[in-house]
Assembly symmetry: C2
Homo-oligomer: 235 residues x 2
């Protein structure tokens, strides 16, 4: 049975990495001793090694060890054999480019489909959607495609931000950007605020965390969805 936590962010303001999710992760990864970490998104350009060390520190709180995918000669085999998988945040373009380069997107999808528990945060959540077209990241590398895992039947916009009425900046709001997305694409987009996540259990999707999510369906006005809502209707 598929089992995923697709989180807006790894860290919420004023607390440590994954701290707000730890109780969930204890349950999510209850039968896991070691997690395979995919550090490809390299936030701030951090090395795979250093990123993995930071994540290992966070998971030590629940007695789970962490190994980075870069430590394995064969990344496909590493995914196949993983007890649990975590893809961390950073730059989605860098992440997706590296996933294509190592040809592991299918391996991740297969592992998750056969039941390997998965955690994604930020860029690692983006890739669970149909495409990465709703990432907030800067396109610092050109990946072979924007197509991603399609483990949920919509796109994800992590770190969703409400418009700031005091802003004097003439750049687009997040809502405008997603409206522009719907000028060229028809799949729904879920704006996941920091502290929210999507829980996937088999084919059942639920919004979790303390906050509402903002839903953007093609041809409809965007609207708020309360936490603990069923997301199965989004197609």
């Amino acid at each position: 049975m598929k089992s995923l936590i697709i989180a807006s962010t790894s860290t919420i303001h004023g607390s440590g990495p994954l701290e707000y999710l730890m109780d969930e992760l204890r349950v999510h990864f209850k039968s896991v001793n070691e997690i395979l970490f995919i550090p490809y998104a390299r936030p701030g350009g951090i090395s795979h090694e250093d990123y993995t060390t930071n994540i290992a520190k966070a998971f030590s709180a629940i007695n789970i060890s962490v190994k980075g995918i870069h430590q394995f000669d064969n990344p496909k085999k590493a995914i196949e054999n993983a007890q649990g998988i975590f893809t961390g945040g950073g730059n989605t373009f860098v992440l997706v480019n590296q996933l294509y380069k190592n040809d592991v997107l299918n391996s991740i999808k297969k592992a998750i489909t056969k039941g390997t528990p998965y955690l994604g945060t930020s860029a690692g959540s983006n890739i669970c959607g149909l495409t990465m077209n709703t990432t907030n990241d800067m396109p610092i590398v050109y990946p072979p495609s924007f197509k991603t895992l399609g483990l949920v039947p919509f796109n994800i916009n992590p770190h969703y931000l409400d418009p700031n009425p005091d802003s004097k900046h003439m750049g687009e709001t997040r809502e405008t950007r997603i409206k522009e997305f719907h000028g060229f694409n028809t799949q729904p987009v879920i704006g996941l605020r920091e502290g929210s996540w999507i829980e996937v259990k088999g084919d059942h999707l639920t919004l979790r965390g303390k906050l509402e999510a903002r839903i953007f369906e093609y041809g409809k006005a965007p609207y708020e969805l309360p936490t603990n809502s069923d997301l199965d209707f989004l197609k």
Copy 2:
């Protein structure tokens, strides 16, 4: 002689479209009766027609008429014959995709090189750099390449924003994003604040407007450059 205005934004807070630039544009386009407008970036998904109408209204202040490139059967010929060219802001991915689709990047470069005065704002400025890898826009379509006009020997980050110390949002600052860019690319990036522009006269580049720009050179700490500085050293 090349003659370009490469502006961070079309509009600054509290004033109308292009208003802050009008005195400059009067001089820049002094021998121009009609401008060819490239509306491909479609801000907020606006149609080519409506976008062109809005821009025509702004240019009527200096008695210049505006025709949209979409009104011509042959966009290449339209560029060749243009007295002046303006590419407006919106979504850089949409703009670049359409420029490739219509195969007009070379035509624009040729026209500018032979002396057709050019104005770019936001996305229309981004394309003057070497690549569009430092756009702030959402990747709502997948263009055939991120390579752009290379009319200046660096990349541009329009709408440059300083880090907000009060932010509780865990997304990356602009500075972090550009640092990440330099993990994979070596060309300089100029962070152009709203109200700033680059003036190109022949091979001579100058920073204009009231504000400083932030310069990001590979392997160096970012630094501020005062307005009216020569930019010829950036390579």
